[in-house]
């Protein structure tokens, strides 16, 4: 990845590209990898999924394309100025800030548009959003476990133990997890948990203490910071990562983005994805084996499962078997359904059995 000082130069270079295209009498354009499911490829070297060779072009040839590029020029100016002044802003602030630009055509019509544009700029310049000093509105999730870190904050350095120095809520992951240094740990493995309810259950039952486990709260589809810290925990502390989510197609995608990278940010997969992460459950197999209370699959669930069968990230024997089984039984279960066997079932029975079977403990 680039250093922060490079970020501004990369942006100016992009503007210079546009300038040169104009000067040469060419139509300004910006070429990006096509960001669709069909254009992600497995990178054998790193074990993650990244964009393939197909590209699409944002060209000033059309009114739509010209507007996009105009907005890009304005955003480049804004980001360059922000880096100059060493300030930061959120994606949402960028959206509102565009209202103050002198040009109506350059203003964003929705936040999705500004988010997409920032991602485009990341891809073209090879600089991450964090290095542009752009952060999401909602910050990353939380950590709980035997880990001592040092965080570089605007108000100075802080040393925090993620079990002893934090409340029941745990340690809040900052927007740019690269500002953290790992100092010491007593972690055997990390467990990334989808829902807040299950995280609280594990903490209440003392699972992290009992198994020397770092509980990472994913908060649904994990933010980049969460995925980045997960990868750092794995790479730097050399511990296995297990993902514990609901037993439905949407949760498999959560696992997918942790382990393989997401389609939207496939350009950052090498930086964000942890291909060694394993899926604990709830597996469709578990629904049968533990006879968990289940809901029938809705039409959109079935469509999502079928689309996952086509998704190159899920084309492994394990996933094909599980997804086909789920389509077969036509059921899905939440993590909390384990409570049907008692509140301690998950920490006393289910997780130890599953983690043992996976060779994590």
């Amino acid at each position: 990845m680039t250093t922060e000082s490079d970020a501004r130069d990369e942006l100016i270079d992009l503007a210079a590209d546009f300038y040169d295209q104009f000067a040469a009498g060419d139509i300004p354009e910006m070429t990006l990898p096509t960001r669709t499911k069909s254009n992600i490829e497995y990178d054998t070297e790193s074990g993650v999924w990244t964009y393939g060779d197909r590209t699409s072009t944002r060209s000033a040839n059309s009114v739509r394309g010209a507007r996009k590029l105009l907005k890009a020029a304005y955003t480049i100016e804004f980001l360059a100025d922000q880096l100059d002044e060493d300030r930061s802003s959120t994606l949402r602030e960028l959206y509102y800030l565009s209202e103050s630009w002198d040009n109506d055509e350059a203003q964003f019509s929705s936040q999705d548009e500004s988010n997409d544009l920032v991602e485009d700029l990341e891809i073209v310049t090879g600089v991450t959003r964090e290095d542009f000093h752009m952060r999401p509105e909602e910050s990353g999730a939380t950590l709980m476990g035997p880990l001592l870190i040092r965080e570089q904050t605007r108000r100075g350095e802080r040393e925090i133990h993620c079990q002893e120095d934090v409340g029941a809520g745990g340690y809040q992951i900052p927007n740019n997890p690269d500002m953290i240094d790992f100092l010491d740990d007593d972690i055997d493995f990390a467990l990334a948990v989808e829902t807040g309810g299950m995280r609280d259950r594990l903490v209440e039952n003392g699972f992290d203490e009992e198994y020397n486990c770092l509980v990472i709260h994913l908060k649904g589809q994990p933010a980049r910071a969460t995925r980045r810290i997960t990868k750092r925990v794995h790479d730097e502390l050399d511990v296995p990562i297990a993902v514990f989510a609901d037993g439905d197609p949407w949760s498999y995608r959560i696992y997918g983005s942790v382990a393989y990278g997401s389609i939207k940010s496939a350009h950052l997969s090498k930086y964000l994805a942890t291909p060694q992460a394993e899926f604990v459950g709830i597996q469709p197999e578990d629904i049968v084996e533990y006879d968990l209370p289940a809901d029938p699959l809705s039409d959109s669930d079935v469509n999502a499962l079928e689309s996952e069968l086509d998704d190159p990230r899920f084309q492994t024997d394990y996933w094909e078997e599980q997804i086909e089984l789920q389509l077969d039984i036509g059921k899905k279960s939440e993590q909390q359904s384990l409570a049907s066997r008692g509140l301690d079932f998950v920490t006393d029975t289910y997780l130890p059995e599953r983690l043992d079977a996976m060779g994590v403990i």
């Binding site: 942006l11 503007a15 210079a16 104009f22 009498g25 000033a60 010209a66 105009l70 020029a73």
Partner: protein, 819 residues
């Protein structure tokens, strides 16, 4: 009727009483009471109708005389009345004719002519005169000056409503500044509530008569409305045609039969009808014979194994001619008969005549009429088993029928019936049918088996119901039709001469048969030189003249025929420009160049327009049917020798499918052009919009990137031209060399016309031409630049110069000039 009943009722006096009240009604009186039938139902409409009638007459008169119409219409308020003046530059009307033309209803030159003209009944203008005198009490004041006369004739006249004759109140010579023409002045009770219709009528008349000059003055106008000519070409002169055989009705036919000087039917047909020559006349007459006389059923002659001996029968019938001649004659007849597949009695008679002549020539014996007749009777008896000897030997024949020796006709009939009906028919039923038919044929009058198609159908139906009763075997409609067809197609048209014209004229039935024959004969469509279409070119010119639009299209169809009358449909469309965009389109309807003003909703043209899916052609049509909306004028012209109107006031076209089809095709033809115009305009508009937006965005983007990079603003014209698929013309001045670079970024080849105006004298031109114009030099090139290619146009100058370039040959939307 009444009087007849009163005699029965034995009530004397009532009939007389009633008779006192019964008298002839003059046509003028009738009109007085039925003004609405001719379009004079209200003061407002009366005025429009009077103008219309007078203008129609004026146009017809001028065109016929070969003058370009110049018509002046003036409406003035005179106390409680309106005075209407119409002047034309027509040929004028002779002193003798004039009172009748204006002062007698149903007097005119058009009614009997089969030719496209505006007026037809000779009722219009005299009806206007009558309306004027009824409402104002004033006579019509008419001035007319035939060409070449030094003075004009002035009349004041009224119509005597009792006699339908003009009553002349003043008759004097006067002076008139027009060299020739007619002027009519009418005063009438009226109002101007129908001003819009009046204006429409005059304007629309100008649209379909682009060769006419019209001027309208009326109290509501500050300035007279003037409609100038768009062409000096008179409509093609129309030829009067004779009626087409498919277009006459029985009453008309009888009248023609009575009036003709022809003696024979053939002559009559060829003389009085169009498209009938000798050959067509013969086929009509053959069909007429079939209807009028019926055909003669033909039968199979005896075959070799048969015991019916034609030769023997003939020989027996001939006496005193000597053995040699008799044998030659008998065998000749028998041989010829046997050569025929089927034979009718008339054919047999012809054979006998032929053979008799031959044998007479060979032997010198004479075979007289009686001998021949006997021979025919005998041979016919031998062939068919009926005729002469049956009468002679009635006992024997009775025995025959009883001894079940069946008539030879039965087996013949059996073969035909069996062939004509389905194979599933029971053989016994078929035989029964053949027998029943044969019995009925034998009962026909005479022994020639002469029968009309109608009678044959009846006879077959009768036989079928007989068989159905006796045998419980049904012969359905199809089977009966097949049987009829089998016999009828094998029957022979009789050689009898058709009755003479006089005889047919005297017999309603015969005339009906002739009409039937005329209608069933295939005859060429009538010629179309009786029609004067406006032509697509002039339909468009007419619209162009009166509507300031962005687009015009017109279509003129080929002539078609309905009911013996040829017709041509033309359509035109004007779109955009000054035509109001709100509400539905304006529909102009014309019949024989006369605008139809009233009853739009009842008109076939309106129905056709409503049923076209206009969205397909780029016009807005709420609900997908009905009159479309938008800034468009659709004009439809139907020209015919007999335009079918829904009523006498000639306001709306009747729904005749053949005409409706043609209207639709004509309108669609013009609408297709409209569609491609609208498509092109839309894509040009999109291009303009794109150009507007990009022309705003890209400079801003260029500013921004130069700001961010800290460089000076880049030149973006090249990029713009490329984006717009444009043609760009750019000037480069390099010391003494001036270069105009023409780049074609569009996907088609472009031919440009470039003119560069230079303030000093250019030299060393790379082709092109230079013209000195008072110290300015016009350099001209006409480069052709292929798609994606570029051309450099250069010249040299000495020192500084001013330039001004203009570029033609490319749509301005596609052009970027930076020079």
């Amino acid at each position: 009727m009444t009087s007849f009943q009163s005699t029965i009722g034995d009530e004397e006096g009532i009939a007389e009483e009633l008779a006192e009240g019964q008298r002839e009604i003059s046509i003028a009186e009738f009109f007085e009471k039925n003004k609405h039938m001719l379009g004079f139902d209200s003061g407002a409409r009366g005025l429009v109708t009077a103008v219309k009638e007078a203008v129609d007459n004026a146009l017809d008169a001028t065109e016929e005389a070969g003058y370009l119409p110049d018509i002046y219409i003036e409406i003035e308020e005179v106390g409680d009345y309106y005075r209407l003046v119409i002047e034309d530059n027509g040929p004028g009307i002779t002193k003798e004719q004039l009172p009748k033309v204006f002062g007698k209803l149903l007097y005119g030159s058009r009614f009997h002519a089969r030719e496209q003209s505006r007026g037809q009944q000779g009722i219009g203008i005299s009806a206007a005169v009558l309306y004027s005198q009824l409402t104002s009490g004033q006579p019509a004041k008419i001035t007319s000056r035939p060409k070449g006369q030094s003075r004009a004739q002035y009349f004041e006249l009224i119509i005597d409503t009792d006699t339908n004759e003009p009553e002349i109140q003043a008759d004097e010579e006067t002076t008139w500044d027009r060299p020739h023409g007619t002027r009519i002045e009418l005063e009438m009770e009226a109002n101007m509530r129908a001003r819009q219709q009046l204006h429409d009528y005059v304007k629309h008349t100008a649209v379909v008569n682009p060769h006419a000059r019209l001027e309208l003055r009326e109290p509501g106008l500050d300035e007279p409305l003037k409609f100038e000519r768009a062409t000096d070409e008179l409509p093609a002169e129309t030829k009067e045609i004779r009626p087409h055989p498919h277009g006459v009705e029985l009453g008309a036919l009888i009248k023609m039969l009575e009036a003709t000087e022809s003696y024979s039917v053939s002559g009559f047909l060829q003389e009085e009808f169009t498209r009938v020559g000798k050959k067509t006349a013969d086929s009509v007459i053959d069909n007429f014979r079939d209807v009028y006389y019926g055909r003669e059923l033909a039968w199979s002659p005896p075959r070799a194994h048969d015991d019916r001996d034609v030769a023997g029968a003939v020989a027996d019938a001939v006496a005193n001619k000597g053995a040699e001649a008799t044998t030659a004659f008998a065998e000749g007849v028998a041989e010829t008969v046997a050569n025929n597949d089927r034979i009718s009695r008339s054919e047999l008679a012809a054979i006998v005549d032929n053979v008799a002549e031959t044998v007479e020539g060979d032997t010198g014996k004479t075979f007289g009429g009686t001998v021949r007749e006997n021979a025919v009777d005998a041979a016919w008896g031998a062939i068919t088993g009926v005729g002469g000897d049956e009468a002679a030997d009635s006992d024997e024949s009775d025995d025959d029928s009883e001894s079940a020796e069946e008539s030879p006709l039965v087996s013949d009939a059996y073969a035909l019936v069996d062939d004509a009906t389905s194979t599933r028919k029971d053989d016994a039923a078929v035989r029964a049918m053949a027998e029943a038919l044969t019995r009925r044929f034998e009962n026909l009058d005479g022994d020639a088996f002469r029968i009309t198609l109608d009678d044959l159908e009846r006879l077959v139906a009768d036989a079928a119901s007989f068989v159905a009763e006796q045998r419980d075997a049904t012969f359905g409609e199809t089977a009966r039709e097949n049987v009829v067809e089998a016999f009828w197609s094998r029957a022979r048209t009789v050689p009898d001469d058709p009755p003479k014209v006089k005889a047919i004229a005297g017999s309603r039935d015969a005339a009906a048969d002739l009409l039937d024959a005329m209608r069933t004969t295939d005859i060429l469509a009538p010629p179309t030189d009786c029609l004067a279409p406006i032509t697509a070119e002039l339909v468009e010119a007419g619209l162009r003249k009166e509507y300031d639009a962005d687009f015009y299209a017109a279509a003129s169809r080929d002539a078609e025929v309905h009911g013996g009358d040829p017709f041509i449909v033309e359509a035109g469309i004007a779109y955009g420009g000054e035509i109001p965009a709100e509400g539905s389109v304006e529909l102009l309807r014309f019949a024989n160049r006369v605008p139809l003003v009233y009853q739009r909703g009842a008109c076939a043209t309106t129905d056709v327009i409503k049923n076209i899916g206009w969205r397909n052609y780029g016009l807005d049509q709420p609900g997908g049917s009905g009159l479309p909306n938008g800034p468009a004028v659709i004009s439809i012209h139907v020209a015919s020798t007999n335009v079918p109107f829904t009523s006498e006031s000639k306001d709306a076209l009747a729904n005749v499918p053949a005409i409706e089809d043609e209207i639709e095709l004509a309108v669609r033809e013009a609408a297709r052009e409209l569609k491609s115009f609208l498509n092109k305009r839309r894509s040009m508009q999109q291009r303009r919009e794109k150009q507007d937006v990009l022309g705003r965005i890209l400079p801003e983007m260029a500013d921004k990137v130069s700001e961010v990079t800290g460089r000076s603003r880049p030149d973006i014209d090249g990029a713009l031209a490329r984006i717009m698929n444009n043609v760009s013309v750019e000037r480069e001045v390099n010391g003494e060399t001036v270069t105009l670079v023409v780049e074609n970024h569009s996907d088609v080849n472009e031919e440009l016309e470039i003119t560069d105006i230079v303030s000093t004298e250019p030299t060393d031109l790379s082709d092109g031409t230079v013209v000195d114009m008072d110290g300015e030099w016009f350099v001209q090139w006409k480069p052709e630049v292929p798609s994606g290619d570029e051309r450099e146009l250069t010249y040299a100058i000495d020192g500084d110069a001013d330039f001004e370039v203009s570029v033609g040959g490319v749509e301005t939307e596609k052009l970027t000039v930076n020079a």
